[in-house]
């Protein structure tokens, strides 16, 4: 495991006022978006009883734990404890947070809890992008990259010539002529990854057809990777009733 910036969700898919649980290297995170449209990435753990905050719910600019309703503001500070409504909540009660940023239509987290000065994310914003989907694969991030560095860029609106590939620690680009897709790879655990896929280009151009094509491309890539890993789920057909 290396400290750095990793993708945790597609920005557009994370609706205002919602939360979701996810993982980085097996550690549980909650990703949520407040009513002012800001996204947050925290440790998925209520300091009270250790309940996962992603099981809770977002109300306005607070996220509340499902167990006892403790509410945390956008700075991860506990502000309200329903069992003690008159209590001024001590500042020591707060959730551990990950530095996070939205870039390329993706929410990224720096996997060092409560880090004050994370390193620069290392690549510039590019706008506009067209989000496609998050795709969850039963294979390690290393196996995913093994496949990505051999993959062809799907033909969209302006294909031209052989696929040019480049990558950083958590991001791959596949480019052919004017077509380019960006694939951010989230290591969920040693044996599971998530791909967050966007098209470099405007939704005005790519909504619909291009999204479908890239999504189908992703599903084919998933089959290939899981097939190579001997993925049991593809081999063992559904349990019949």
């Amino acid at each position: 495991m290396e400290t750095g910036w990793y993708p945790v969700a597609l920005a557009e898919g994370l609706e205002r006022g919602t939360s979701t649980g996810t993982r980085l290297f097996g550690r549980e995170l909650v990703v949520w978006r407040d009513s002012a449209d800001t996204s947050h990435v925290w440790e998925d753990r209520c300091p009270h009883r250790g309940m996962r905050l992603s099981f809770g719910f977002v109300r306005d600019n607070h996220i509340a734990c499902l167990y006892h309703g403790w509410q945390y503001d956008t700075s991860a500070q506990c502000r309200y404890i329903p069992a003690h409504p008159d209590l001024a909540v001590p500042n020591t009660i707060r959730v551990a947070t990950y530095p996070s940023i939205e870039r390329l239509g993706i929410v990224w987290a720096y996997d060092d809890l409560d880090s004050d000065a994370p390193q620069d994310i290392g690549f510039a914003e590019r706008a506009p992008v067209t989000p496609v989907r998050s795709l969850y694969i039963d294979a390690s991030a290393a196996k995913v990259f093994d496949a990505l560095v051999l993959a062809e860029c799907p033909s969209l609106k302006d294909a031209g010539g052989a696929t040019q590939r480049s990558r950083t620690d958590a991001l791959a680009s596949l480019k052919s002529g004017g077509d380019e897709i960006l694939v951010a790879v989230q290591p969920l655990s040693d044996v599971e990854s998530a791909l967050h896929i966007v098209i470099a280009g405007s939704p005005d151009v790519h909504s619909g057809d291009s999204q479908k094509r890239v999504s189908a491309w992703g599903e084919a890539l998933r089959r290939e990777i899981e097939g190579a890993a001997g993925y049991a789920g593809e081999l063992r057909h559904g349990v019949a009733p």
Partner: protein
């Protein structure tokens, strides 16, 4: 007028499918609580006479007796949904809803068994059931992802249908048997919309808050 009666076990997801539909259709009915676990009352003489398959739910309406959640849902929709919104009359929509109802009873049966194993300690291969349940959820996720590209919010057509109601319980309850919603972002968005359907109700294991 004859009275609709539902033989119901509160913790059973198939009974919940029917309660959910009765609720969104705004139908009043009599509920007979059956102690399925641990009482196994569904296998006692009285209910076996009504339904020799020994399954719940069972719905009666006067002399008419019907079992199997998806079949009961199609009956209720035809009988009480005059606008055909929940079960389209149009052939393609009808066929596609029927396909997803089949999916709910067949492909998602693994999820049903996985939950019975986890909650009631019933027999089963935990690993095989978990894999089969995840495979079914993935098919649903891929379908709803594709639907979003067409700016469609429901499994079939422009409105919620029986398909949505029949598919919802297994994924909404998946944490009962250790499958998180992490890998299903499109299904999360769909579940959130589904909760806003007028008449929506929860069951134990499905949070009132979200």
């Amino acid at each position: 007028m004859s009275e609709i009666t539902l033989y119901d076990f509160e913790l059973d997801e198939n009974c919940y499918k029917v309660r959910l539909l009765l609720s969104v259709l705004g139908l009043s009915y009599r509920k007979v609580a059956v102690n399925m676990v641990p009482g196994r009352e569904h296998l006692a003489v009285a209910l076996m006479t009504l339904n020799p398959r020994g399954s719940l739910p069972i719905l009666t309406n006067g002399e008419f007796v019907l079992s199997e959640a998806e079949a009961i849902m199609t009956y209720l929709a035809r009988a009480y949904d005059d606008g055909n919104t929940w079960l389209p009359a149009e052939p393609k929509g009808h066929g596609t809803v029927a396909m997803w109802l089949q999916f709910a009873s067949r492909d998602l049966h693994a999820a049903y068994l996985a939950r019975r194993l986890a909650m009631f300690d019933e027999p089963g291969d935990e690993v095989a059931l978990g894999l089969a349940a995840r495979r079914a959820f993935r098919l649903m996720e891929d379908h709803m992802t594709a639907r979003e590209f067409d700016r469609a919010a429901w499994f079939v057509g422009d409105n919620p249908s029986l398909a949505d109601l029949a598919l919802f319980p297994a994924i909404a309850l998946s944490r009962d048997f250790g499958i998180e919603h992490e890998a299903y972002p499109a299904l999360r968005r769909w579940m959130r919309l589904l909760r806003a359907i007028p008449g929506f109700m929860t069951m134990p294991g499905i949070s009132d808050y979200y």
